[in-house]
Symmetry: C2
Amino acid sequence: MKIALAQLNYHTGNFAANTQKIIETINSVINKADLVVFSELAICGYPPRDFLEFEDFLLECESSLEQIASVCKGISAIVGAPSRNNAPKGKNLYNSAYLLVNGKVEKVVSKTLLPTYDIFDENRYFEPNTQFECIEIAGKKVALTICEDLWNVDDSPLYVINPMDELVKHHPDLMINIAASPYSNVQQAQRSNILRANCHRYNLPLVYVNHVGAQTELIFDGDSQYINAHGETCTRLTSFKEQVEIIDTENSNSVEDKPLHDELANVHKALVLGIRDYFNKLGLKKAILGLSGGIDSAVVVALAAEALGAENVLAVLMPSQYTANESVVEAINLAKNLGCQHKIISIQELQQAFLQTLNPLFEGKPEDVTEENLQARTRGVLLMGLSNKHGFILLNTTNKSEMAVGYGTLYGDLCGGLSVIGDVYKTDVFRLARYINRDREIIPEFIITRPPSAELKADQQDTDSLPPYHILDPLLKGYVEDRKGPKELIAEGFDEALVKRILRMVNMNEWKRHQTAPILRVSKKAFGMGRRMPIVAKYLG
Amino acid sequence: MKIALAQLNYHTGNFAANTQKIIETINSVINKADLVVFSELAICGYPPRDFLEFEDFLLECESSLEQIASVCKGISAIVGAPSRNNAPKGKNLYNSAYLLVNGKVEKVVSKTLLPTYDIFDENRYFEPNTQFECIEIAGKKVALTICEDLWNVDDSPLYVINPMDELVKHHPDLMINIAASPYSNVQQAQRSNILRANCHRYNLPLVYVNHVGAQTELIFDGDSQYINAHGETCTRLTSFKEQVEIIDTENSNSVEDKPLHDELANVHKALVLGIRDYFNKLGLKKAILGLSGGIDSAVVVALAAEALGAENVLAVLMPSQYTANESVVEAINLAKNLGCQHKIISIQELQQAFLQTLNPLFEGKPEDVTEENLQARTRGVLLMGLSNKHGFILLNTTNKSEMAVGYGTLYGDLCGGLSVIGDVYKTDVFRLARYINRDREIIPEFIITRPPSAELKADQQDTDSLPPYHILDPLLKGYVEDRKGPKELIAEGFDEALVKRILRMVNMNEWKRHQTAPILRVSKKAFGMGRRMPIVAKYLG
């Protein structure tokens, strides 16, 4: 059987665009393939979130499905969309895969394992499937499953049943899995292991079709593939790109598995795609950001220029009395290296004006972080003014280490419509900078090698109040990503006082993160929709 | 049997405080009651959210439980806490009720129906219970359930099983339900109906113990009660207050059911409690807010003064050239009526300074909303400066109608640590103002009767760009709370063009709401954790 794997970029709720894209893809492979496979909830985009609670949204799904079915003549298609649960009890929807044949829906297969952890909320909307049968396509018996259905094969299973254990009893010839599996820096390796483990366990080949493209914070890498019954990859689609590829199940020779890209290169690709789709899907073109002469904004402007084109990125330098002369010089060099337009606005007078107004109300209290925050907020107001006037989106440049300990000024440098590197630790920001410079010096060496500083007061360095990042970042990763508590971290060798201080800082800044922009997710645990913490809680606070 | 209903206010993750409170309550009813009942997840507070993923947090729960069990001598207790799922498959926790007798845990009963909708995420953490047996307490057979377990009795059940249908087979004498059921303006009536329906259906009396107090956005009203087998209320605890009350199951005479308070009075109580607990649980005392002379900030300052004491509220007037003289005069009168301190800061010079700086970069583009936003953001910077310097929390004063259509300036009037009336439509803000004035004029009549205006340009009124609120608010309620789509709303008689314009505005402002403060929840669907929408989606956008 010839099967087209359609790894496409959908736009959530954009039924016209998604339907057109699916229909064009079907037409492009008619007479070349017996079957074309689209990903999970392709018709409405993933994740549709609470739009699933609107009857009108479901009717749009059904209308799109009908249009798509009508072109399936001479070819079959599998496409993901919600379906109705008509039973009197239980949630009213299933997360389903539709088999379309001869212009109509021939079969509906629904998802059994509904991920409800991290960024996933599927139990919120869907009833789990409890019936298992294979479907017939072009004379082959196919075990059709949806994403998580294949993921219950490791040592500590989250679920009490395993759909493939049921389906295999009906002796299928082939597994097909349609997915919405977002990228993270550990996901591709884990995903490959899981998919191969299924092939080994059931001694069956597998066609796997995933989403590609970003939906706000979630970035889908694609990584669709055809794996033979020995767990060897025969075809693997290009990551982070739309691609339609036809495989032949009669030819299941393993090809040399393209090595997984260097993870740093993947993070870079993910962030570029994340920026691009955020703008594309909002129908906007141009970005603005503050360029400080520090490494965070340097990396973000380089990513933005790659994603949107340098001509669509405006860099704004806003020096104060504390800004080193080299910061301005090198920020200008960076903008020039990229070919971005830049503007310089001194904030000194505005800062003075604010202080003059506020000082009488400060009641003689000594200078503290308030005055530093005022500088950051003055910059925020200027950037948002330009953003509003010109219709640009402000990019936020805060990194994950700062986001974790709360070292950003709310309504100041935490402003922005999208946080580009809020899931990248500071030590990884340095690695990304080196990666960006891999072919030529884009980010001036000075910016990479200078000691990190917010330049909000004289002679300030990040290490004045934080441990060095090579100590801080592993500690943060242990707490935020690996869910380790204080005792476990201390047992690993971190200083006890430091552990208590840092964990307290992370917990006490939940209120600040609650108000920041969506963060492009590239780790297994990003701040945002996948990490849900109370604000007024006292634990470790 | 004599049962103490302990309706208490817990602090999430504050194990020391919660454990002390529970132990003191047990000690206070020893020799007076056979059993004391605490609410769902009382030991750790509700909702603990992702803290449940930390082993250290679970160990803290277990240590607290041990301390509490040790004082249960001569009395039994039921208390909610997570328990471990030791089975090899499934999620690793249950949401459990512990029966404590003779200094130790005698039984653990777990929750079957795990709410995963609106603000609830229980499937994220817990495995559902599948075993049903009654427990023996003081010679009585008790059907012990947890919150949602009783809620599957209406016409379109969300779940395929009903725990009481199983438990009733064992012939219990009494139902006990421990809950974490947050307040909304429709919840008390619905809750009473559900509880009574259970008594009727199983012909059993019911002891119901709920949380009281606010956890960030969620406000628990308590409303704990004892209902006899005829569905008649025998005892009902005071809403929105901590209370411990002993009931006697031998005396199940119905008392005259205290009428439910006027819903407006309840919303008022809920908001006051919400503010008070936000400050108390963060360990802070003082609030600051901008007072414009409009009705929104007037209602918020009155609520804050009631919650925190007028001496702990600083009102800041920040007039511009567009501010009517009466706005200043009446805002001052309001502050005086309440006894709050007030400060006046003119923003005109700062505003001019920003415009002078930015005008060269505005490239001759005409005045638009940018200049209005600049005023709002200048005020935001001033308020945050005072907030930082004095350690006050800034209260946000945006109402639900504005929040819905995006009529607030991000980083301007949308600043603040807590949104007090972000779940109150403008028409209800007027009703609240009248309620606040029920005994004497606190909010000057002028503020209530003037036409709503943001005063960000000359002669501006809200109705210049929005329909009147008596039309807008029901439309917003239909879309946001009742999940009605465009066709349903148009069929109800709303103007088609208006429906399309307003729904588009709601959807297109998701990115703004993503960055606002937590909103005290008083309706069945508030913006925030209970409403999860994509940002870059196109649906109705």
